[in-house]
Symmetry: C2
Subunit: 622 residues, 2 copies
């Protein structure tokens, strides 16, 4: 399964399509209180409105997950990785030590294996770890009252220059189900939310390349994209490509779910080149180490895997600590039993050994590792329902209650924690999930896969699940794990990754609007104004996917001239409702006054008529 | 713009892909109380479960909109049209007359134009109309206590043989927001809902080819697919193709929104070949007749258009009678003004003439036409919001109130009526739309376009709107008008039509599940069981789109053998969560008893521990 070195040499460059700036867009950096806080945003430049309603249109700023890949001023070299924007901040805190080498046995074995040289990321870093007795989590700092540069960065990022559009802030009243989003996000607000456990900043000290981001229900809803090879396919290069492609379209975090060969090396390449937090499910790799035999898993193997990945820089770990022996029989009558990979591994282990899960019994040991690197818990929902019929059952909610207990233990260690959720849930049962999660888990952020609202559309599960994702995002879910059209059917390719990301950007944004997130509607308004004014290019460029919008438009009206035409192919040149409305809108004040006068006159007549009418009526009665 | 006769000759046949039965499916007909009530359903045959859990799996029956196109026993000839399954029923009622010719001036002009011969549908029917003084609407019959064959047909169709799966009826508790769906739909229930105005059966007496269907919130949620050429493109043949293609994937009704040349002839071809109700927006054609100049529209031109289309067999008319002069100035401050084509035409007309809309003032005259043919009102929402910012405003709700008044007038004439709704609405404002519609319009069925829950994704509006459609369907919306990926950008092609239909089948089904529609979950359960048991073929075949599911699967695992393998490419052969769960499920009773015993023991220990612990605690205290 070894890849040729030739393949990896070609990795220095990225496909042109992956690093093109978006049309009429350029990256700006907003500086914070210190020069090394440079928060990226995408500025979309708009054309002028022409004709009777002529005016300039201010540029729009959008949250930008794409990293320096869309900055033409930065030379991309995948072999070298990204620059370490957080190194200085970590250093200044003086609570970490640089180790002499990797602490994991497995990492060292891989390093010593010359056969892997060709695959290996060349510029390996020496790992950092907390100094003895130190806690280096953002939650720890937050609880000490410290505002870190990461927190300030996030505050600027979440505000997204919305104050430039003051008249549009909070335009539509939302229904936020208890979330409480301020009009301006301050660094202090970020700190307080992290301290409270209501938000997390996944930021391993060994992943200084991350552009800090936050997950919590009082911030914009985030989305995760999964990548990862399996025994059946996909090379390191493809996975790095998928990561770059995924963040281009808006993935806020990436989970590397690899289960095949060379997991360790693949992960290194991904992390070194990722400006977004990377999550993993360490049990997958631990299982590989025991040749796929779940019963053979041990705490020692698992622990070494956690340290291996911690020192590579993984930002959050999915840990299925809530799958306890007592929950397993609760799944017997399900239609689809246990569908989570991690959940089924642990269920099998518990049954084979007839004892409590070693992840559950070692949970505090895991906390101690997490806080040495600032890795965030993503407490896995190993018993999530795999179909509509299994939603919200005793197994699922039993595990959720356990996750609630574990959250409190993690918080005792100041370890940042969020909670994974379902899965497959019909619409009427979604809110119960959200409410129960908030209650059981002390408002720790919820992170759900979909949920899929029906099982009958394999090939379209990005849609079945975007429906559920939008709803649960509205109800308070902080991050939505994308589902691609290939869910249940196979491994997503590049197109599927994009389809999944766009569907989830839609769900997340629809949720932000519904919650009344203060500035969320600015982009909708700008796009709709462009649409109304037939500024076709602006309409494309303000959309989530300018390429597809332009392509679709050009299929029926390919000529460049059409882009400034006052019609689209839906209606044709003579017949366009927006054109007619534009005419109405440009009527002068005198004309409008006249209409209102007519209306008053008509209403008056109506009143008179009714008066006469009732008079007649009364006469007849008498 | 004339099409060659050659083109239309080729229309006798339908593309092979359009008439292939679905894999492992065949059409069955369930007979009613008389031999000519033959209700079509699709029966999906399933394979046996193999291995430890071996068993046979009963076939599943699904609602089938595809007409005889998927019945290999019926020869399709588009030039001849479909057979007239309702002729006998209409005759028996003895309340209609066969006219000597078309009553519309325009129809006769077209008929007399020899240049159109090549385009014309060959086997034109002589139109029917109610005998003088008769009312031929299904609502009239219903209110007389008459159960028509159409009503009995619908009852059988809606039950979908669900009684074969009694143990799964009403499995998940839904939240139906006041809808009241019985476990078995009887013909009497259909009658009572139609009499009450809570459901409609669009069934023009001049469209005897229709397979009766019902739209109402106590029935399955329906979807509409739009087709229609414009001045810029698309031939008659393409539009008929789109109709056949649309119903194949599940369109319950088709709206022909043509605005280009040969609208009359195109419509004839579509109706004669459509087994589903056809809706139109007559004002589009009326506008063509006055050369696109809205001000030149008159009641006479409009009336002639209504009669022209009535006698062709259009089943429902979108009538924008709610756009009144007084509403127009309410749209001035909108971002996107009036986006409905019909709405903007009428607004322009009102302004030009400074008077009330002629459609509004002639509403009772229109009712008199409708009841002579049994055409259903689709009261158009001419002032629907065109963007998030304009949702639920005074213009929209002002029109809705007018539609409520008009509904009561239509019902006075026993004319079946449903109400069109938005548009673009953020999630938190959707329920208000549904609630207000039910209240204002006396629970007449609601029929919405989407709504789109965000404006920022041109190219993906099938998804932005499926999110809103699923929600409003759950809240009580009876029919969802599909949106294709090309919405706002251009005319949908065949692929777009399919994408739109599938997205809306998902939304409608998710809504049926959420409402707790008694048998909706049977298909989800069957598919999930197939998925759990690795019956790949059954999983594909039970899905909304077996072709795409199979194609996606085969992209990563093309070999036929893989379809019976116990893994998919997501996990690979050694590592599959479903496989592990299957092992758990097949444990014998003794093993499960053992686990439970262990759990009891552990719980006991825990109790003892706590007891000891508190003892210690108390000792220390003392």
């Amino acid at each position: 399964m070894k890849q040729s070195s030739e393949t990896l040499t070609s990795m220095s460059s990225v496909k042109e399509a992956f690093i093109q700036p978006f049309p009429n867009s350029h990256k700006i950096y907003v500086e914070g209180s210190r020069a090394d806080i440079q928060v990226p945003m995408r500025e979309i430049t708009l054309t002028e409105t022409i004709g009777d309603l002529a005016e300039k249109n201010d540029p729009i700023h959008v949250y930008d997950t794409s990293g320096v890949y869309t900055d033409p001023n930065v030379a991309i070299d995948l072999r070298k990785g990204l620059s370490n924007i957080r190194d200085q901040w970590i250093d200044e805190r003086q609570d970490t030590q640089t180790l002499e080498g990797m602490s994991s046995t497995f990492s060292n074995e891989r390093l010593d294996d010359a056969e892997l040289d060709a695959l290996r990321f060349e510029f390996l870093k020496t790992p950092r770890r907390a100094k003895d007795g130190k806690n280096v989590t953002q939650m720890y700092y937050a609880r000490q009252g410290i505002i870190t540069p990461e927190m300030e960065y996030i505050a600027i990022r979440e505000n997204c220059k919305w104050q430039d559009y003051k008249d549009q802030i909070g335009q539509q009243k939302g229904e936020s189900f208890g979330a409480d989003i301020p009009e301006i996000i301050t660094a202090e607000f970020v700190r307080s939310e992290v301290a409270r456990g209501r938000a997390v900043i996944p930021a391993n000290i060994n992943h200084p390349e991350t552009e800090p981001m936050i997950i919590g229900r009082n911030f914009m809803v985030k989305i995760n994209g999964n990548i990862g090879n399996s025994a059946l396919g996909s090379s390191i290069e493809e996975e790095v490509d998928k990561m770059v492609w995924g963040i281009r379209w808006g993935a806020d975090t990436i989970m590397d779910l690899s289960t095949g060969k060379n997991i360790h090396e693949t992960r290194e390449w991904i992390i070194r080149n990722s400006p977004v937090p990377i999550g993993t499910v360490p049990i997958y790799q631990a299982l590989e180490k025991v040749n796929g035999v779940a019963e053979d898993l041990t705490w020692e193997v698992f622990r070494d895997t956690l340290i291996e990945q911690a020192e590579q820089g993984v930002d959050y770990f999915t840990i299925h600590a809530g799958v306890r022996l007592q929950h397993v029989p609760l799944t017997i009558d399900r239609i689809t039993g246990i569908v989570s990979r991690g959940g089924s591994i642990m269920a099998k282990w518990c049954l084979a050994h007839h004892t409590e899960s070693f992840i559950y019994t070692h949970f505090e040991d895991i906390c101690k590792i997490m806080k040495q690197y600032d890795i965030t818990f993503s407490l896995g929902d190993g018993l999530r329902p795999g179909c509509i019929a299994d939603a919200n059952d005793a197994a699922q909610f039993g595990e959720l209650e356990t996750l609630g207990e574990l959250t409190k233990i993690a918080w005792k260690h100041d370890v940042q924690t969020f909670i994974e959720g379902p899965g497959h849930v019909p619409m009427q049962m979604i809110k119960e999930n959200m409410d129960k999660q908030l209650e059981e888990c002390g408002e720790a952020p919820f992170y759900t896969l979909g949920p899929l609202t029906t099982d009958i559309a394999p090939g379209y599960d990005h849609i079945t699940s975007a429906i559920g994702a939008a709803q649960i995002g509205w109800y308070g879910c902080a991050m939505l794990c994308y589902v691609t059209p290939k869910e249940h059917l196979g491994l997503p390719n590049q197109d599927d990754v994009k389809e999944g990301i766009i569907a989830y950007k839609i769900a997340a944004h629809a949720a932000d609007l519904a919650k009344g997130h203060p500035g969320a509607q600015i982009r909708d308004n700008a796009l709709s104004k462009a649409r109304f004014e037939f500024r076709w290019e602006d309409q494309f460029n303000l959309g989530l996917d300018p390429d597809t919008a332009r392509k679709y438009h050009d299929e029926t009206m390919p000529k460049q001239a059409a882009k400034t035409s006052h019609f689209c192919s839906m209606c044709g040149p003579k017949f366009c409702s927006m054109k007619i409305t534009q005419e109405i809108k440009t009527m002068d004040a005198a004309e409008i006054a006249k209409i209102n006068a007519i209306q008053v006159e008509m209403d008056q007549k109506s009143v008179e008529f009714l008066a006469n009418d009732s008079e007649i009526y009364m006469k007849e009665e008498s």
